[in-house]
Symmetry: C2
């Protein structure tokens, strides 16, 4: 028997099936899915961000299972909240679905969205579904909260002489994307890279903690590529940066994957993109607390260099030579 | 010379060109576009809703100029805020653009988005752009605020015996959509219908006022069609409704357009859809104040019937005969 598609159900029943897979909103959500809009009480400041996953641009259907895609669509938005030091409170999801989309696929996607929100202690607040001719797209808007006495962490607060820290394993997502393009070669390194790419786990709680404890000057999520996002911090802060090539590639998984791809691993770290990790400036006197908090919360952090005077530019040092870092991050349109 | 397209610019420059067309956010916006997320202070409750405009589903490019499309994308979201009694505070916009999209088109769209937000005293808080293969889509998330001592207006508050009021001119959008399908015939009636369809002006401020003054029991925006949204209110409130056919079609513009289309005008009113207007329940003792407030704010309102006991069903009365209203509103997927 042919599987049900979204055209077999109609909008009302489709939405009911999706709502059925979402969890009950947290008790501080006054009105959840099902009315014209969602309502929730907020004590401090509201933080908002939006990001989409378009089939054919951000992913291909054969790469990713729908529940993983759902988690990913949530995670990439939560990552931006974490970079502001905000706690996720809820997500809105707007789905564009070809009418031939199988219901089972949509249900699995909805389960992934719920799991994704639950990872951050938040819920799906509402959304929208529409039929389209060609390809799936999933737009998510994330709403976060910053407590009353905490300032959001902006990009312009990196001071000369502070450490440049990154979380996680930048470059792995880029390696996975490259591998998908050139054909899958099974290996342990690739498996780890694929997991980082498809099912990212951004350090959102950690971002909120370092913000509320005042441990970072500037913070950004490096989803557009470390080089691009580092340049953004440097321009906004009026500083340069000098990174250490050895520290940038201190990841045996990445080095192995890069070797199999025959690519310089530093290229993947700087320009690979889609690493839902944080880059931040940390003053000398706060680095120890920063590292301790990371260890306590299970977040990998590495000092990859220092912010320096603006006229020193943005460079990395390899084998004693400084090389300029060009902002060749991931650009959809170029 | 060929016009610039989005692929000529790259993402960074494209975003700069778009930001250039957006207005400076209001002073209560702590961080506007350009960081990982936007931040704004909120005193009461946060209200959130999202809605998309997909080329080929919601509109065709030859129907609508980009600046009108931008205003429309904002208005359809603001309408949902108004239906909750919320004041718009800001909008996030996620654009999916084929790389061949002309820059001029995108700039005009951005101007329309700004104008749209300004109509409601709000601003664009941020967004996202992505390249896609096929068609434009515009997802908007609206954030509104409900003041501390005001309750959001839900769908379940319509009491038996109260008036059923609608704002504006339901049916005109449906007439315009029908006309686009069957080929344009210039007439004054169609011009008014096309304007209602393409460039809706939802009574958002009015929605906030009637909510804060406690004038309505239940309220909904009738964008999915009056019949569907009336049924939603009746089911949520445990009531029925008896509407008056004469009052429903008391709009000479609609009657003229329906005659040219050879359609029963009441079908357009009940099932046409995309009317970004309000349907609400108003108690006898509050109807005079409700009408006075509408007159003062320049909003057209009509009492089209009464909410009745649930076992009387949902009907309209024409020439002395009651006919059942079926929820045959606008469904994307069926």
């Amino acid at each position: 028997m042919a599987r049900l598609t979204v055209s077999d159900l109609g909008e009302v029943e489709l939405v009911e099936q999706i709502l059925d897979k979402l969890s009950v909103p947290n008790s501080d959500v006054q009105i959840g899915p099902g009315d014209d809009a969602a309502v929730l009480g907020i004590g401090g400041s509201v933080v908002l961000t939006t990001d989409s996953q378009h089939e054919g641009t951000h992913y291909f259907a054969e790469w990713i299972a729908p529940e993983v895609l759902g988690r990913r669509a949530i995670a990439v938005n939560a990552s931006d909240l974490g970079a502001m030091g905000a706690r996720p409170r809820g997500f809105l999801v707007a789905l564009a679905l070809p009418t031939s989309t199988e219901l089972d696929w949509v249900i699995s996607l909805a389960e992934g969205l719920r799991e994704g929100a639950e990872r951050f202690g938040a819920s799906i607040l509402g959304g929208d579904v529409a039929a389209v001719a060609d390809r799936v797209s999933i737009n998510v808007t994330a709403l976060g909260e910053i407590e009353k006495n905490t300032e959001p962490v902006e990009r312009g607060g990196a001071a000369e002489g502070t450490w440049c820290f990154v979380t996680g394993w930048p470059g792995r997502s880029g390696a996975a994307r490259q591998m998908f393009k050139t054909g899958y070669k099974p290996s342990a390194a690739f498996e780890a890279c694929i997991d980082a790419f498809l099912d990212p786990r951004p350090p959102v709680t950690f971002g909120g903690c370092v913000a509320s404890q005042g441990l970072v000057g500037a913070m950004i999520d490096i989803s557009d590529g470390l080089a691009v996002d580092l340049e953004r911090i440097c321009l906004a802060s009026g500083v340069g940066a000098r990174l250490d090539a050895e520290m940038l590639v201190a990841d045996t998984v990445l080095v192995d994957a890069a070797a199999e791809l025959n690519i310089d691993p530093i290229k993947l770290v700087l320009g690979g993109g889609e690493d839902y990790e944080l880059l931040c400036s940390v003053a000398d006197g706060k680095a120890q607390t920063f590292r301790a908090l990371a260890a306590e919360t299970g977040v990998e952090v590495r000092a990859v260099g220092r912010f320096v005077a603006a006229d020193e530019g943005i460079t990395f040092v390899r084998a004693g030579h400084a090389e300029t870092i060009l902002p060749d991050g991931w650009d959809h349109f170029a």
